[in-house]
């Protein structure tokens, strides 16, 4: 689902909500997803066609709710990531050129592992990418911080904003 094309030359943020994804090849768009918590923000970008997308997944495995996965594939790693790639292919992106960045997956202080949703999200993503012969170019995951993620379509630059910190940081510099 490509974001709408705007005629204005101004950069604008297109917000990707929880369990949603958006792709675009509009150089004025900055795809933004707020407050990841234990969720994962996954961005992909093809620097040749300047197209990319951003995904905000909540949980690792769509097996827990097949109906939900059909309705909202972007909720789960195993259904969301393929949906993100497919949507980018429609904009001319090519799998081998895709630059993948990942953020989020925060954790609480938990030895039991009962509450380790963040880590399970990261593990599921790592496994899925490995099975498909893909590598992550830049990532900042885990820890106890809440992150917001931005993908600038003009350059492929990925920025992060950590809650409680004054400034954004660059996760992937882009072109």
């Amino acid at each position: 689902m490509p974001s709408p094309t705007f005629v204005s030359g101004f950069e604008h943020r297109v917000v990707v909500g929880i369990a949603e994804l958006a792709v675009s090849n509009n150089p004025n768009v900055i795809l933004t997803t707020y407050s990841l918590g234990s969720c994962l923000g996954i961005s992909v970008y093809d620097p040749v066609v300047h197209a990319g997308g951003l995904l905000h997944i909540m949980l690792p495995d769509s097996g827990i709710d097949a109906v939900k996965a059909a309705d909202k594939p972007a909720m789960f790693v195993d259904s969301g990531v393929p949906a993100l790639f497919r949507a980018c292919y429609q904009l001319g992106a090519v799998k081998q050129r895709m630059i993948i960045s990942v953020a989020g997956g925060a954790q609480i202080m938990d030895e039991s592992g009962f509450f380790s949703i963040g880590r399970r999200n990261c593990d599921a993503l790592a496994q899925l990418l490995q099975q498909n012969g893909l590598q992550v170019s830049a990532q900042q995951v885990g820890g106890m911080v809440n992150r917001t993620m931005y993908l600038r379509l003009a350059t492929g630059e990925v920025r992060l904003k950590v809650s409680g910190e004054p400034r954004e940081t660059i996760l992937y510099a882009g072109a």
């Binding site: 407050s35 918590g37 969720c39 106890m144």
Partner: protein, 282 residues
């Protein structure tokens, strides 16, 4: 106790007391709720009345014809719904402002509170407990942070350091730096505001639900509501997730860890429906 009172007494800006909530909760407990008493109680605060009516007519319910007064609102929506709207309006008055001592921007603590309250409420509904009680307790669970924020303003970076470098829970870091922590301050404040004992105790021990017995179920709801809110990103400040995992919260309610993802999904869906509560008119 004296230490907590001393602490609360020296704070310059106390939040506005949501005194109407314990009163309404008492009315709500009765089987034969007297509508006129409820209306009198809410009407005492005209700006609250206006805000509640505004919410009644918002996208939250989209009534076919506008709801003009509280009597009509209670007849149409029921007392429980109206109670939640009142709680949202008075709660956001206290929890809405920025709390720089924790690196919390305007509205962030409120958003977290609503998300915790909704997550807790859904769990209580499923397990057959009093969902209004859970909603209220979870909504107010971080009240103590408003009190501590003032003291933390000058030493915020120290608080971040304690949690980040020494891997301490935020609660323990507060205790080390200030001698008190937000859960006990919040509990004490609610006691002074005449909230029922179960809410006071549950808020007091919302990071150690087992210690809240005999109100451990209520504390467990707050604990899990709080956790789900943080997981879903309705979170705030630096080291937002620096809290300890308490598996007893699951044990107390007889929940399995595998049920957590399902509760997260239900919470996300419910929050989309009650989005208006994130920005109540005040």
């Amino acid at each position: 106790m004296q230490e907590l009172d001393d602490y609360i007494n020296k704070v310059k800006h106390l939040p506005p007391a949501p005194r109407i909530l314990p009163e309404l909760l008492r009315l709500l407990k009765r089987d034969d709720v007297d509508n006129s008493k409820v209306v009198t109680c809410i009407s005492f605060d005209p700006s609250l009345t206006a805000s509640v009516l505004q919410l009644c007519n918002s996208a939250l319910y989209s009534p076919a014809t506008p709801i003009g007064d509280l009597n009509q609102a209670i007849t149409w929506l029921g007392f429980k719904q109206i109670y939640q709207l009142v709680a949202a309006v008075v709660g956001s008055r206290a929890l809405g402002p920025a709390q720089t001592g924790y690196g919390i921007n305007k509205g962030e603590l409120w958003e977290h509170s609503v998300a915790s309250a909704v997550a807790g409420q859904l769990l209580a509904r499923k397990l057959g407990d009093d969902e209004n009680m859970v909603f209220t307790a979870a909504l107010l669970h971080d009240l103590g942070k408003i009190i501590l924020s003032e003291a933390l303003e000058g030493i915020y970076t120290k608080l971040v350091e304690e949690t980040q470098q020494h891997q301490q829970a935020l609660l323990d870091a507060e205790k080390r730096l200030l001698g008190v922590q937000h859960a006990e301050i919040g509990g004490r404040l609610l006691a002074r505001w005449k909230f029922p004992e179960n809410i006071v105790t549950a808020v007091w021990f919302h990071h150690q639900p087992k210690a809240a017995a005999p109100h451990d179920r209520l504390a467990a709801y707050i604990y899990l509501g709080n956790l789900i809110a943080h997981f879903l990103g309705h979170s705030y400040g630096h080291q937002a997730l620096a809290l300890r995992g308490r598996t007893d919260a699951l044990d107390i309610l007889g929940l399995s860890p595998e049920s957590l993802p399902h509760h997260m999904i239900e919470t996300v869906e419910q929050l989309a429906l009650v989005e208006a509560l994130f920005h109540p008119p005040v």
